[in-house]
Symmetry: C2
Subunit: 385 residues, 2 copies
């Protein structure tokens, strides 16, 4: 069997496509795909199911078994290091060792400290060859939130904006329905659907009274929703309070109001304040501590600017409409950069037409490097182990 | 010989690539490419040379002849209808008829009223089959300026901007060096190089004292330069006045100043004024009347906004830097759109990473449609003729 890197990358991309099929269902677990191969033949394949359900490796092993295949001597491609601890399911590494593949190819080492490199070590102890790092970047992009939570104690946060070419998110009077077209809105709902929580600010709740649910695309589950509302001013009849889980982050509590809202699945969380308002990094740490991997922010200029200023934004998801508004509300209210050199730079990672609009994706290079460095250290640890 | 559309499109793209090799040299003539084919063999090929030099068809025929090929029975692919009138060179259609190809495939009918469909008619009279319209859109994109001048009496105008993601072209204090990176600047110089004139406003001359020449890429000729300067305030020592052709468009003349500048290859042109300032559509008509096909605008927010407001902009060429400035100068000063429905919409035609920046190109759909409709009418005229 060929061990060349190109073949490994091809099969790993197949496993990543399987993992993507679980995009909306696995949280707080990572999305994982697995394919078991002998030569050019797929013996079995699978993806992680919802939390508590079987992991990708077990689904793939069962698939191969159901088709009558013995996987001894095969190669297993899995997008994340197999788990070696008893969580909600028995350790995948035991099932793999029992099935005796010749080799296991892994895209990402598991950054979860509970796993701690035991997956790779136990496979090797059992005489199974292990290859690390195939398609690591793509695998990280699919699970940046999980890796971020495990390595930084923070979720992976993207800020969604719909703006005109000249950077206005609404007309001066506030009218923003609709700058971007229906396909951009549907695409935005796909990003809501993959997130663990949709976050907005009290200004947007007051102006638009949004639901913030996923409606324009099918989804097996709704993400939670959250509002940053420093002075706890939110209307108790906001449409947001429709029965799904909602967090309201405040600096000033009102216990009676909080108790009334609690009956409607709303949790009021008191956060420390900073000179400029609520301590947003603390909000993010709180979300990570509550198993939130990915945060989808849809907010006005004020909260968007505050998140950017406090370094809370990892990615920008911008739907740009092909028009100039001349004047209007900005996408993020911030003090002017002290100089062009001082302005914080993102990195373009994608530009794609969505209907008549252009979708631009940008990533914070330093935040991404923190994840890749943590993963590189995990690889070094496995190699030394 | 196969006459299928796919084969025609493939060879026409080859002819278009030849035409692109003349991007910087043919004005005021169109860029034209020609390839002569028998089966899979190229017998000869060529592109239009500088004005007064041989046209593409003649270059291709000479190439075939130099290689000892008889082109009788071949197919000639040419991106623009062969000329049938004596201009600076003898009519190409005579040379083609003499060489007796079996078929001539033409991307665009010549919109020049002097040609008037005689090219197609004379080929047909001579018993040569003619196919019209292969890759017509690509061929139009390459010569939108020439077609615009012939059919609308206007040049094709693009507005170049370098902006941050939030639509600022400079910091509040005016610092714009450099929002975009060196590769974006070099790409911008390529667009300068292909244009017939680089146009700016008095505000930019005062603030930056630019040369507006092509420097970052090699070019066989410098485009002319032009300044919109309603009150004729330009400093006679502006760096712009370096000896190359410069037009200064004013509403108030100062004959003594104009005469001093005339000695330095500067022509002062008095234009009518509108309530909001100089009559910009008149400036554009004047440029077209002076054989200007393409106008590259690099201007501040004021002139950019005025050109947009008066419908003078056909394309937007936007280099977007991956950063947010928070506050700054806009890319185009305009009154706010009355409503989102009333805002003028462009159409994205391209998004391409250029270094760390993203280059976005947008086209005015109505202006483009005016060109395609004129060409469609020309095709109908040829078919009826």
């Amino acid at each position: 069997m060929s061990h060349d890197a190109e073949t490994d990358a091809r099969w790993m991309r197949h496993a990543l496509a399987l993992a993507e099929s679980s995009l909306y269902i696995t949280s707080p677990n990572p999305r994982v795909g697995c394919v078991i191969v002998r030569g050019d033949a797929v013996l079995g394949q699978g993806a992680t199911q919802q939390a508590g359900g079987p992991h990708a490796e077990v689904v793939a092993l069962r698939d191969a078994h159901a088709k009558g295949h013995d996987i001894a001597g095969s190669t297993v491609y899995v997008t994340l290091e197999p788990c070696s601890h008893h969580g909600r399911t028995p350790p995948c590494v035991d099932a793999l060792i029992e099935a005796r593949p010749e080799r296991v190819v892994i895209a990402l080492c598991d950054p979860n400290p509970l796993v701690g490199g035991q997956g790779v070590a136990r496979l090797r102890e059992a005489g199974i060859a292990v290859t690390l790092g195939a398609c690591a970047d793509e695998a990280l992009a699919l699970n940046a939130g999980f890796v971020s939570r495990m390595t930084r104690g923070l979720p992976w946060v993207w800020l969604k904006s719909g703006v005109s070419l000249d950077g206005h998110s609404a007309l001066p009077g506030g009218d923003s329905k609709w700058i971007t077209g229906p396909l951009a809105r549907a695409d935005g709902h796909q990003w809501r659907a993959r997130s663990c929580v949709v976050l907005t600010g009290i200004g947007t709740v007051r102006a638009d009274n949004p639901l913030l649910t996923v409606r324009d695309v099918p989804t097996p589950r709704q993400p939670a929703r959250a509002v940053v509302d420093t002075r706890f001013e939110i209307d108790e009849n906001a449409r947001l309070f429709d029965g799904g889980k909602v967090w309201v982050f405040v600096c000033q509590n009102d216990p009676a109001k909080a108790e009334r809202l609690a009956a409607r699945n709303v949790e009021v969380v008191v956060m420390p304040s900073m000179s400029s308002g609520i301590d947003l990094p603390s909000v993010m740490r709180w979300l990570a501590a509550h198993e939130i991997n990915e945060v989808h922010v849809e907010a006005g200029a004020r909260l968007s600017g505050a998140l950017l200023e406090t370094g809370c934004v990892d990615e920008l998801l911008v739907y740009m409409a092909p028009m100039l508004l001349g004047q209007g509300l900005g996408m993020a209210r911030m003090p002017a950069a002290a100089s062009l050199e001082a302005a914080e730079r993102f990195v373009f990672i994608d530009a794609m037409p969505v209907g008549t609009d252009m979708r631009l994706r940008l990533r914070h290079p330093g935040h991404w490097a923190a994840l890749t460095q943590a993963l590189d250290q995990a690889v070094q640890h496995r190699l030394a182990g």
